[in-house]
């Protein structure tokens, strides 16, 4: 039993199953929800098996069809990939369950949702497991393409507009990235991350290539001030799609950035470049939070909160230089997991609320005691993780980032984390207080179970992950480009 568990390439199935299901869902739309649920459950299982294998036997690679790089495709299952797969598994399972209730058979959207989502899922998982620059490009394009189609799903003018912005920004970003890949290939004759990591010289060309690729990926990650496309695209998509875009898709280019900076170009990137990203991250935290505080619609509030949370991920670049590398690394990856779960849950609750109330204007959502109030409390529970209150996984992540900032002596980032927490509490409180405001309108009907339980379950998981963060934290460092003690002490 263990021999199979420890040698089988489980992670490959997280790509193949959704891909096959996508085709099936396209051909037999009637059975698409069933295919989606089966896929979701099996992906979750395969992710668990991958985690088990990495836990016991360490990170591993798999050559598809036995072909060697550069012609063949090599998949790598390491700690960082695993955290991404965990996020994808949890978010994907929840959203799939929710979508079976949200889209009805009569709905034209369902016809396209399932094939596109399953394709997106396969592409995401493939991206997380990819080990070379070009593969990352192709998978990233697959992710972007299916995301764009999903964002345009409901066909409203706002959604089409948002999708078009998303597409143009994505295209600009990916071509910029690809030009960087061309430069790298020209200089070193390979695109394999590991090989490049051993051969890259810290010269001007490398720096230019890194800058090009980084700029493209920043646009795709929607880091402030390149975030302009995100709020319209995320806020006008159907809620299950918004949950996927915010919870999962923005993390795809992020992982590529981490791999580039820490695996391929650890010595090429200068401290100044790292701090530039860190400062942009701080800008994102503050600007995104302030915008979220000003929004009048719930979904836009949540979308701007994503802009703010993306900023935290970029604190990794300055904080992971030096002694606190492992602390910051684990902190940011746990934050990816925490944010994925909480943000997806928040968007799903938004969807339920919009269904119930018929709109998502904050001014009209007061509803103490009723069904709306209960949904708003679930939203608040998800926000506990988002804000980083204990005992949630968001708290553990924030705690690690604070520790990293202190060890690295970066007080400026520490102050931003603190301020960001307060601002996040501020915009969450705007929503939470509605749960206690008496409603003037007649009571609303209770939402169907399938629109209530998945987001609640995901919020609970996100909170409980804080108490079970030990193993994920250790696994994050398996095969990671940084190493060291997670919680460092600096006794002189």
């Amino acid at each position: 039993m263990d021999a199979v568990l420890l040698t089988h390439p489980w992670s490959v199935w997280t790509i193949i199953v959704p891909l096959a299901a996508a085709v099936l869902a396209f051909l037999v739309p009637r059975r698409a929800p069933l295919a989606g649920i089966i896929t979701a459950l099996s992906v979750a299982l395969f992710v668990a098996a991958t985690a088990y294998r990495i836990f016991l036997a360490g990170p591993h690679t798999q050559m598809l069809g036995g072909w060697q790089a550069p012609l063949g495709i090599t998949l790598r299952a390491d700690g960082p990939a695993l955290i991404m797969l965990l996020t994808s598994g949890l978010v994907g399972l929840t959203v799939s369950l929710y979508a079976t209730g949200y889209f009805t058979a009569a709905d034209r959207q369902q016809r396209y949702f399932w094939p596109l989502w399953l394709l997106l899922w396969a592409a995401c998982n493939a991206l997380f497991l990819s080990g070379d620059l070009f593969n990352l490009y192709v998978t990233l394009e697959l992710v972007t393409l299916s995301s764009i189609a999903l964002a345009a799903l409901n066909g409203s003018p706002a959604a089409l507009d948002g999708a078009m912005r998303y597409l143009l920004a994505g295209l600009l970003g990916s071509l910029s990235y690809l030009l960087g890949v061309a430069l790298i290939y020209g200089a070193y004759g390979t695109v394999d991350l590991t090989l490049l990591g051993q051969t890259v010289r810290a010269d001007g060309l490398s720096r230019a290539a890194l800058a090009l690729m980084t700029a493209g990926l920043l646009l795709k990650t929607a880091l402030f001030p390149l975030h302009f496309w995100l709020p319209p695209a995320h806020a006008s998509a159907p809620p299950p799609v918004s949950a996927l875009l915010s919870g999962l898709v923005v993390k795809a280019p992020l992982l590529i950035l981490f791999r580039l900076w820490f695996e391929v170009f650890p010595d090429t990137a200068t401290a100044g470049m790292a701090h530039l990203l860190g400062i942009l991250g701080c800008g994102a935290i503050i600007w995104g939070s302030l915008m979220a505080l000003r929004q009048q619609r719930l979904k836009l509030l949540v979308a701007y909160s994503t802009v703010a949370q993306i900023g935290y991920f970029f604190l990794l670049f300055p904080l992971a230089r030096g002694e606190a590398a492992a602390t910051a690394w684990v902190g940011v990856f746990l934050l990816v997991l925490a944010h994925g779960c909480s943000k997806a849950s928040m968007f799903l609750v938004c969807g339920t609320i919009t269904r119930l109330a018929g709109h998502d204007r904050l001014a009209g959502l007061a509803g103490a005691g009723g069904t709306l109030g209960a949904r708003l409390l679930v939203f608040a529970l998800a926000a506990v993780t988002l804000v980083g209150m204990p005992p949630s996984s968001g708290f553990i992540a924030k705690w690690l980032l604070i520790n990293a900032a202190i060890v690295a002596g970066q007080w400026w980032y520490l102050a931003t984390i603190a301020l960001g927490t307060l601002l996040a509490s501020g915009y969450v409180l705007r929503v939470l207080s509605l749960a206690f405001t008496e409603s003037q309108s007649p009571p609303l009907p209770v939402a169907p179970r399938i629109l209530r339980w998945p987001p609640l379950a995901l919020s609970v998981v996100a909170v409980l992950l804080g108490l079970a963060a030990f193993h994920p934290a250790v696994l994050t460092l398996a095969g990671a480009p940084v190493s060291g003690i997670i919680l460092l002490e600096m006794v002189p």
Partner: protein, 499 residues
């Protein structure tokens, strides 16, 4: 897991699990909800009773849940935790009874009692936290679980109070978190150990330790309502009476005071903290808070606001006792944790009864109310006299030891502060007592709920203040009895001062 590990966890879960179940109950399942509430409270009290003899004998109960490599969630029971946990477990039971009576027939009770239980679970966690990080975790959980109680009524006023409450406590929480992280980086494990853990650190770190102390005290001072961090407390009065009672007597304010105890005694160590010169400024702030709170109290006509400012003043007795740095002052400060809780909860119960039964919210409306609510007002009088420090009531014991502590530490100004405060206490409580018993009752009360059975108010509202009022007398009269809070505090003090 052995039962020694399980016991601290079970004590926390005894309120957490009923709370989580209550959230899912529909509004009309009143009997099941009551059963869960009271069942949880009784189970918690019995578990604490099991713990008691073992902690007395100096045995340890430790539970560890690894959160990260090098960081555990630690629950342990020592003498100091027991002091706080007995208080909170007992007052939870009493307050639950009161709240059931108080909220009878009002909406959103499942939500209320759910958060109420979460709040008590967090308080229990604070009492049992075995290191500073675990303490912070429960401390922040307390913040979020009390917000829904503060805004329970959902009025714009309540929501505003809730906003301000969160603004204060979350800002404080961040400072506390940063201070804790910083301390962990330079000192490693932050387990609570009697006589402290930091005195062995390199002297070059002492400036950092002083800054960290400031951060920690700022974070804790918000909840302990040290001036000028007290602004949220009077506003939080909009909460229903049982919430105010719990907030002032056990949960929030006491969590801050208890945190200051932990930081001073079990992290820094009282002698080390004194040698860094950290206690004198804190004592001055506490003294200032005592006086400022009392003066502000004088000018409040709203009864609950008067009680709130009185809390600002009284809780700083605890901080004062800690910071005067001497065994006798420590005894005074620690025992006041219990005594103030008992007295203040009595007063809030009575204020709740006035509002609930007669619609009275202002002191100017209280003329002659002693004739209409004799039992309630008797309890109120005992609580108020206790606050003034009249022998042989509980408040007298605390003040007596604080005065002795001031003399012992040769800090005579403390005695002046205490005398001044006592005068002010008398100035704001005696007129109320006079009104109650000797004022001429009005033609009619703002809203009189006369009961068919002839009782002044329902039993559930009457028995809790009578019970706590009786305890205020007993705590003073029987202060020398074995296992009284005073005796227990003496045990703690010995452990804290003798390495």
């Amino acid at each position: 897991m052995s039962w020694r590990e399980a016991l601290p966890v079970l004590i926390v879960l005894s309120s957490l699990i009923p709370g989580l179940i209550i959230f899912t109950l529909p509004e009309e399942r009143q009997r099941l909800r009551t059963a869960l509430n009271l069942g949880g409270a009784l189970v918690k009290l019995s578990l604490v009773a099991v713990l008691f003899p073992f902690v007395y004998l100096g045995q340890s109960f430790v539970f560890r849940l690894p959160l990260l490599p090098g960081m555990d969630l630690v629950l342990h029971a020592d003498a100091l935790s027991l002091l706080f946990i007995v208080l909170s477990a007992f007052l939870w039971l009493v307050t639950t009874l009161y709240a059931i009576g108080y909220l009878e027939g009002s909406p959103h009770r499942s939500r209320f009692f759910g958060f109420f239980s979460l709040c008590v679970s967090s308080t229990t966690g604070i009492a049992l936290a075995g290191d500073l990080i675990s303490f912070v975790i429960f401390y922040e959980m307390l913040t979020i679980s009390t917000y829904p109680l503060v805004v329970h009524r959902g009025t714009p006023e309540a929501l505003r109070a809730g906003r301000i409450y969160l603004a204060y406590t979350l800002s404080g929480g961040i400072l506390l978190l940063v201070g804790t992280a910083w301390l962990r980086v330079i000192a490693g494990d932050l387990a609570f150990v009697a006589t402290g853990i930091l005195s062995a650190l390199d002297p070059s770190l002492h400036p950092s330790l002083m800054v960290i102390f400031l951060l920690l005290i700022l974070g804790l001072g918000v909840k302990a309502a040290l001036v000028p961090l007290h602004g949220w407390l009077p506003l939080a009065m909009v909460a229903p009476a049982p919430v105010s009672a719990l907030l002032h007597a056990v949960a929030v304010v006491k969590a801050g005071a208890f945190g200051i105890m932990r930081v001073v005694y079990d992290v820094y160590g009282i002698e080390f903290a004194a040698s860094l010169g950290l206690l004198q400024p804190l004592a001055l702030i506490a003294a200032m808070t005592v006086i400022y709170g009392s003066v502000r109290t004088l000018f409040q006509d709203d009864l609950k606001r008067r009680l709130a400012y009185s809390t600002v003043s009284q809780v700083s007795y605890i901080a004062l006792g800690i910071d005067v740095a001497g065994p006798l002052a420590t005894i005074g400060g620690l025992v006041h944790l219990v005594h103030q809780g008992m007295m203040k909860i009595t007063l809030f119960f009575c204020a709740g009864n006035l509002a609930e039964t007669l619609g009275i919210h202002k002191i100017s409306e209280m003329n002659g109310v002693g004739r209409r609510l004799p039992w309630t007002m008797a309890a109120f009088t005992i609580g108020a006299l206790g606050m003034i420090g009249l022998p042989p009531l509980a408040g007298f014991i605390s003040k007596w030891y604080l005065v002795l502590g001031g003399l012992e530490a040769e800090q005579n100004w403390v005695i002046v502060v205490l005398m001044l405060s006592t005068l002010l206490n008398a100035a704001y409580f005696l007129p109320i007592i006079y009104r109650i018993w000797f004022g001429a009752p009005p033609q009619s009360w703002p809203r009189d709920r006369v009961r068919a059975d002839g009782r002044e108010t329902s039993l559930l509202l009457l028995l809790p203040p009578l019970a706590t009022g009786l305890l205020v007398i007993m705590l003073g009269l029987l202060a020398a009895a074995p296992f009284s809070p005073l005796q227990w505090v003496q045990i703690i003090t010995i452990r804290e001062y003798i390495p």
